[in-house]
């Protein structure tokens, strides 16, 4: 009776197979050999977003050297994208853990209304109001995390549900009409002010990005979040508290969405009912674009920053060359699809090609 049933295919043949493939001439003359094609896809998956960004910078600089390629314009771009970057960076954390959060835009909108209400109607001191609103955002994130991890509802559906509930809270709170900030220029100064010529928004963005980078790359929690994103089962077997880590990830996303909402309200001087809704799409777009920057299809904070920058530079450039407003939507939509495609290419062709 034969008892030898080990499977020596694949690994054992490693040393011989590739050379045989190289020396074999391809039967048909092709534009690219399979190896060149794999290399191209790998480059696209790893540097695709950066290539798009650099191309846009070059093209717009040539088209509009006087208005686009100026320090002032770049400061404007950074300032305009700061709030979106904060929300997108927060979203990146659950994405790293492998979870979607569709509620962030609605959380930002609700938190923007809430902060104006707390300041104008309840006359709370600014720091207290900010802390309350951040706590609300964090609490929504924790609820998301519990529903997804403990109850086991698919994150996509769960956060769509909680997001819709948050829209309901928003309307219940303010009746669906914008809230005016009655006084307190100190609050609007939060977003509009500058230190040594640098807008507060850019400083806050830099601080939060740095903090999130530290959390993901230097803390035990970040290590666990990354591990879960690769294989939750392996992480669990290694002793990682998987559920708790997912809840923390959602809490971070909720907190960042709340901060985004507060800054939107501060920037506008009022609470707009749908003021933060658009962050959902732009954040996903940025995070997926970022996954095709430097890290072969993995979500990461620096990538998300590059992703937001790509969208912002595109929109700014289109406005500068006088393209009609609809082109910005076409651009953003196409970019999102391309971003997801690039990220997928990075994941598939990134390793060992």
């Amino acid at each position: 009776m034969s008892v030898e049933n080990s499977l020596p295919k694949g690994t054992a043949a490693n040393s011989e197979a590739p050379p045989a493939r190289i020396t074999e001439p391809t039967p048909k003359p092709q534009f690219l050999s399979s190896q060149q094609r794999a290399l191209l896809l790998r480059v696209l998956g790893t540097y695709g977003t950066i290539i798009v960004l650099v191309l846009m910078l070059i093209v717009f600089s040539i088209l509009q050297p006087g208005t686009f390629a100026t320090p002032n314009n770049f400061r404007n771009i950074l300032n305009d994208m700061a709030i979106g970057t904060i929300v997108a960076a927060g979203l990146t954390v659950p994405l790293v853990a492998g979870d979607f959060d569709l509620s962030i835009g609605y959380v930002a909108s609700f938190c923007g209304m809430l902060i104006v209400g707390l300041l104008s109607f309840n006359q709370l001191p600014i720091p207290v109001a900010i802390l309350i609103v951040i706590a609300v955002g964090m609490a929504i994130g924790i609820v998301n995390g519990i529903i997804v991890s403990k109850v086991g509802v698919n994150a996509f559906i769960a956060t769509l549900g909680t997001g819709t509930v948050v829209v309901g809270l928003n309307y219940a709170y303010a009746g669906g009409i914008p809230l005016q900030l009655t006084h307190s220029t100190e609050f609007t100064d939060l977003a509009i002010g500058r230190i040594w010529g640098i807008p507060h928004l850019i400083i806050i963005m830099a601080l939060i990005l740095g903090l999130l980078w530290l959390v993901l790359n230097r803390t035990v929690q970040g290590q666990h979040i990354k591990a879960i994103g690769v294989s939750a089962e392996s992480a669990r077997r290694g002793g990682v508290a998987v559920d708790r880590s997912r809840i923390v990830a959602f809490a971070i996303a909720g907190t960042c969405a709340a901060i985004g909402g507060i800054l939107v309200a501060s920037n506008l001087g009022s609470g707009q009912v749908t003021g933060g809704d658009s962050f959902m799409l732009t954040s996903f777009s940025a995070a997926f674009l970022g996954s095709a920057a430097l890290k072969e299809g993995q979500f990461h904070i620096l990538g998300t920053l590059i992703g937001v920058l790509t969208v912002a530079v595109g929109n700014n450039g289109l406005a500068m060359i006088g393209a009609p407003i609809f082109t910005q939507f076409l651009f953003s939509g196409c970019l999102l699809v391309i971003a997801v495609a690039l990220g997928g290419i990075g994941r598939r062709y990134g390793k060992g090609a």
Partner: protein, 271 residues
Amino acid sequence: MTMAENSSSSTDIPLISLRQICKSFGGIHALENVSFDLNRGDVVGLVGDNGAGKSTLIKTLAGAHDPTSGDILLEGAPQTLSPPSQAQKLGIETVYQDLSLINSFNAAENFFLGREVAFGGGPALFRFMRRKAMADTAIKGLEDLNIDIPGVRTKAVERMSGGQRQIIAIARGAFWGHKLLLLDEPTAALGVRESREVLELIRRLSSKGLTIMMVTHNLEHLWQVCNRVVVMRRGRKVADLASSETNLEEVVAYITGAKQPAGTLAQGASA
């Protein structure tokens, strides 16, 4: 009837004793009254056909399954092994067939997955990893086992060969499991040369006094490293033999059911 049961009644206490372990999933009895002892330094090969209960038995020892009935004694004292974190706390480590490595992490990070060395206390969010200390320890741990794998702190394990990944997974298990190491098909996905390296590592671990239980389909590999063979068939333990006192034909006969344990109704058994 067998060596193991004789030794269990003697003076020294076995590392782990299973007593009448049963495990059912709904109406399916995956394990029925399985009893055996693991003595310190044993390298036990667990064999049997598909569905014989090998995996359920390993998972019971790993703490992934709670037995429906029966007792587990660790060094003579009754002990619950589940959940897996409890088994790990007690010094029992498992290397599953999928290796449970995080592909994008390097070997050192995988070594310390879930047990990161860190500055500070409190929640994981406020503990900062000591990456250098972890990498140094992992490298030293591998050196102690004479394992030479380059890029322990720089190379993601997904860029390593199947053999290297298996060796890293086993070394990790041996590093944390000071009492018992459970291996699920450690050579199933490997080529000849890589299998030899993995078997070599298992022998080295055994010579350092680690107790090992491995599931395998490959009886030749079993003979190269195991001093005992436990044969499962249809949820029951049908044989528990010292490797030196049995042979391939006998083990195969037990696996296929051609030979049945003494004391049961041996219909058509050749012996």
